[in-house]
């Protein structure tokens, strides 16, 4: 079976006004998004493709746990001097990304990517786009008072997400995905955890002291659920493929942390993609866990990686051993290992060795190791304890997008981090989508015919024609050959009508 390679990352950023305790986060997020525009905002995002109540297990829920809170927000928003759509300020950028205000957090969704290098470049391009918007907003505010954080918690029990998404064949049943993924996801934090001081509970505050691997593990409450804001699951069951439903699923993972280290992002997406390839080949892991929720939290709370968790059929296993089992089995299960997959497997094996033997080799590559090293140095230098509230502030500042303040960016400026794409790749990704995915096609539509677009979303674009509405269906432009053809049409057309006529003739 040819593996499907298409993935993307959605990141909700933290936003704070340092000059005002009463600033409205709805307004701030809206103004931030709009600051990226040269002109006025025009509503074009089409919400009809969104189905958050559909469940991969074959049913539709009548309500989500967050619906009441959403209704309350909507009630509050009704008193504001702008509409729901103005508040959302949904943009599609020339690189095919979506940038908007989601739940009072500015959110950047990368365009769909096919390669690890592209996804890392686009994730980092998103950081730079948000920082540009923040600079412009700060010009209006009269100082560097608006700050953005690529993290997942406010240290008061409020979490916001960084979701990774993968297109998966519908021929793989959902139960196989769950069985194949759960142990991997529980232990993925060894590689992809962003690190956090203290402990939290959903909307019940913060307990200082100690250090854990993951920002999100405290907020995982169940194994499977369609919910995303409350009762958060290790494996989200939302069934919203943004592709032909009969042929595809979209795996929507909400358990992950937002990574600053490019290497961590590369391995987070890369190892997950490899496990999906394994499942497509019929792989079933040998390490079922007795309680995945307890396990994800226990593994997170032990940065020395000695903790073992209970297996369903008796015995225990460590997070490192779970990961080792997957990477060893990948070498057995996967046939025709291509260059990118070989890179992922080599780095995965090496990281697991280094985590066991000398984790400090991973400073600048793995976020939790990097953050722990920074904070440990600070604790020793200042002679403070791990329960000192200063450490939560430093934890937060690790994720600050301000290049003159962010601790990660300080490390990067000193040349102490590991880069995956070249800087020019990131610069290019700010204005251009991947050449081999429909994300790039969406971006081309914006670049070439932006003023003609009447509505746009993941699955297609509507243009204003002379006498009719023109629709470019991107639903099934998922393979490189199809994308290349559509790209050629878009590049050579003079009008949207040319595009639609050319694509229709080809059909």
């Amino acid at each position: 079976m040819n593996p499907i390679r298409l993935f993307g990352i959605e990141t909700e950023y933290g936003i704070a006004r340092e000059d005002s305790e009463t600033a409205d986060p709805v307004v701030e997020s809206m103004e931030l998004v709009r600051a990226y525009l040269d002109g006025h905002f025009t509503r074009r995002w089409d919400y009809r493709g969104e189905h958050p109540h559909e469940d991969q297990r074959g049913f539709r829920v009548t309500e989500l746990a967050q619906d009441k809170e959403e209704d309350l927000f909507a009630e509050q928003d009704a008193h504001r001097p702008f509409s729901f759509h103005e508040m959302k300020s949904d943009l599609v950028l020339p690189n095919g990304a979506r940038f908007y205000n989601d739940h009072t957090h500015p959110e950047y969704s990368t365009p769909e990517c096919r390669s690890i290098k592209d996804i890392v470049a686009h994730d980092r391009a998103g950081e730079r786009i948000l920082w540009i918007a923040a600079q412009r907003r700060n010009e209006v505010l009269g100082g560097r008072v608006l700050q953005l954080y690529k993290n997942n918690t406010d240290f008061h029990g409020h979490s916001y997400g960084c979701h990774d998404n993968y297109l998966v064949s519908r021929t793989i049943n959902f139960e196989s995905l769950v069985r194949g993924l759960l142990p991997f996801l529980v232990s993925r934090q060894l590689i992809a955890g962003a690190g956090k001081v203290g402990r939290e509970a959903q909307e019940r505050g913060f307990t200082p002291g100690g250090f854990q691997l993951s920002q999100r593990a405290d907020f995982m409450e169940t194994e499977l659920s369609v919910d995303t804001m409350h009762n958060r699951p290790i494996l989200n069951t939302r069934d919203e493929p943004h592709a032909t439903r009969q042929r595809y699923r979209r795996l929507h993972l909400i358990l992950g942390d937002a990574n600053m280290c490019e290497y961590a992002t590369a391995l987070k997406i890369g190892t997950t993609r490899v496990v999906l390839d394994m499942i497509a080949e019929g792989f079933v892991p040998s390490c079922d866990l007795a309680s995945p929720v307890q396990a994800i939290q226990a593994i997170s709370q032990d940065p020395d990686l000695k903790t073992v968790v209970k297996r369903e059929k008796g015995g225990t296993i460590s997070g490192l051993d779970i990961q080792r089992d997957y990477v060893q089995q990948a070498r057995v299960v996967l046939k025709d290992i291509d260059e990118e997959t070989e890179w992922i497997l080599q780095e995965w094996e090496q990281v697991l060795r280094q985590l066991e033997q000398d984790p400090l080799q991973l400073v600048g590559k793995i976020d939790w190791v990097t953050k722990r090293w920074l904070l440990d140095s600070f604790v020793q230098d200042e002679g403070i304890g791990w329960d000192d509230p200063w450490l939560a502030s430093l934890d937060l500042e690790y994720h600050n997008l301000d290049p003159e303040r962010g601790l990660f960016f300080g490390l990067e400026a000193d040349g102490r981090t590991t880069s995956i794409p070249q800087d020019e790749d990131i610069q290019k990704a700010m204005n251009h989508g991947p050449v081999d995915t429909r994300g790039g096609l969406r971006g081309l539509c914006v670049q070439r015919f932006g003023e003609d677009i009447t509505s746009i979303q993941w699955e297609g674009v509507h243009f204003n024609g002379k006498n009719e509405k023109l629709h470019l269906d991107l639903m099934d432009h998922l393979e490189p050959v199809s994308v290349a053809h559509c790209r050629s049409v878009l590049e050579n057309a003079k009008t949207p009508l040319d595009v639609i006529e050319s694509m229709t003739v080809e059909k």
Binding site: L37, E339, Q361, R405, T417, S419
Partner: protein, 71 residues
Amino acid sequence: MEQTKECAQMVGSLDRKERPVDHISKPSGPGDQESGPKRPETGSPSGDNLMKRMKKVDPKQAEKYRQRTGE
């Protein structure tokens, strides 16, 4: 569609030091412990610019930082 300004010239201040690594397309042989991106020389942040940056952080910054629950 909304026009966005050309971004490239606006991020000069990010000052990313280039560490050109493109090993994704050039993997080394399996089992080579030195393969892949190389880790930086980390040393210790004590006494350098990074430690100064850390000491400037407001100890109460996290206490003041409040967000709404997101997804």
